[in-house]
Symmetry: C2
Subunit: 244 residues, 2 copies
């Protein structure tokens, strides 16, 4: 058996997200997993570092899988590049320690949320940004972002109910103007379902003056989804990096 | 009457090119012209700085039109942004001198041809590049490019027959490596039908070692399309800038 670590880029526009959902098709996990199974001639169980929502992109998603095949990494990678659709790219494939697991071994993840913050039409990047020309108070957003960093129960920033712990550590939320874009870069040990998008929506409401920068503590304490802001649209979000 | 200069960006993927062709629809000229006519309530004759081929993009195409309407430039621009599809963006609209004509007044144009020159899959920029992982001899391409600059009869670099003069002045062809991409930047007083794409295809053949860098003079002298290289695919080409 060989354990592999696979790095993938994808444009999520056409997909139902990373995770296979029951028997429905259209997930990236299913597309890559079934392509690998066909190449290797055995059922491949593919583990992603985590889910990305429908419509969310990945610059470098990580996945792992084991195979008894004796094909070389180079051959598998070349076949993957041949058979995957053009909106899913196999960036690299490396042999990994047998204990390596893309999700369980992950230490930290970075997501980038891109806002096209201009009246000028966005033609070329429109599939990867949230078009939002409103004037945003960046200083207020940065102040609010600072209060969200640290180890907290992020129940207010999760969609759906769950008995699983909502405690996560967000190590950094950095805002950066890049010409007409505003980038929000979130780094943490893990993120709940829709969490980055709800954090973004809430920070944007602070930027628009709809919420005070000082209200983040109260939202966290509420442990209730209705206390936080909107869920920002999926296409602005990209899984940027996973660290092990 | 007011004469306007309109700056447009577009992703050419879905279109038959800039120019209206008889009664068929699907050209960018027709889309923008009919939108303007609807907004201004009169038949608008739109003049682009020049054609772009089917599938070719524009970062800043220039167009001009006259109108008797008393709407302000700001109102017209705002309406254009509302009604144009998301792959055509009205970047700016300015009042121009009555003698200004986007094509006849143009002094110089720059086109950029982008080659994705890597084995690594191109996921996010795939609509705007020619994917060509071959090893390219950049020095040989630069030497060939230098021989193509200047005032020449470019009949060998034009698709189709025409009695019109094929003499053009190419002031610069610059090659630049940008990470996995190779950019070819062409500047000149005007370009014939398919000319930038044939220049690119010919330079690529030099880079691949299929032609010698020194053969450009002979191709120009032949004044025959068959003497030059292939026509590079349209999606790699972007009209970058028009100067007046």
């Amino acid at each position: 058996m060989t354990n592999y670590r696979l790095t993938l880029a994808y444009e999520g526009t056409r997909y139902r997200g990373w995770q296979r959902q029951g028997n429905t098709s259209g997930s990236i996990e299913e597309k890559v997993g079934s392509t690998l199974s066909r190449i290797l001639g055995e059922d491949i169980e593919l583990h992603g570092s985590g889910r990305t929502d429908a419509g969310v992109h990945a610059r470098a998603q990580q996945a792992s899988f084991k195979t008894a095949s004796e094909m070389s990494a180079e051959e598998i990678l070349s076949a993957l590049r041949q058979y995957l659709p053009e909106d899913i790219g196999a960036l690299s494939l490396q042999e990994a320690d047998m204990r390596f697991h893309a999700r369980l071994s992950a230490k930290e993840k970075t997501y980038v949320y891109r806002i096209w913050n201009s009246e000028t039409p966005c033609v070329f990047r429109r599939r990867w940004v949230w078009v939002l020309p409103d004037r945003l108070d960046i200083a207020a957003m940065e102040s609010a972002a600072a209060q969200l960093c640290g180890k907290h129960d992020f129940s207010s920033f999760r969609t759906g109910k769950s008995n699983k712990s909502a405690v996560r550590t967000v190590t950094a939320i950095e805002l950066e103007r890049r010409d007409k874009e505003l980038w929000l870069r979130f780094t943490g040990d893990g993120f709940l379902y829709n969490m980055v998008r709800i954090l973004t929506g809430t920070l944007v409401e602070v930027g628009q003056g709809k919420r005070s920068a000082g209200s983040m503590g109260a939202i966290l304490e509420a442990k209730n989804r209705t206390a936080a802001g909107i869920t920002a649209p999926p296409q602005g979000l990209t899984l940027w990096e996973v660290r092990y």
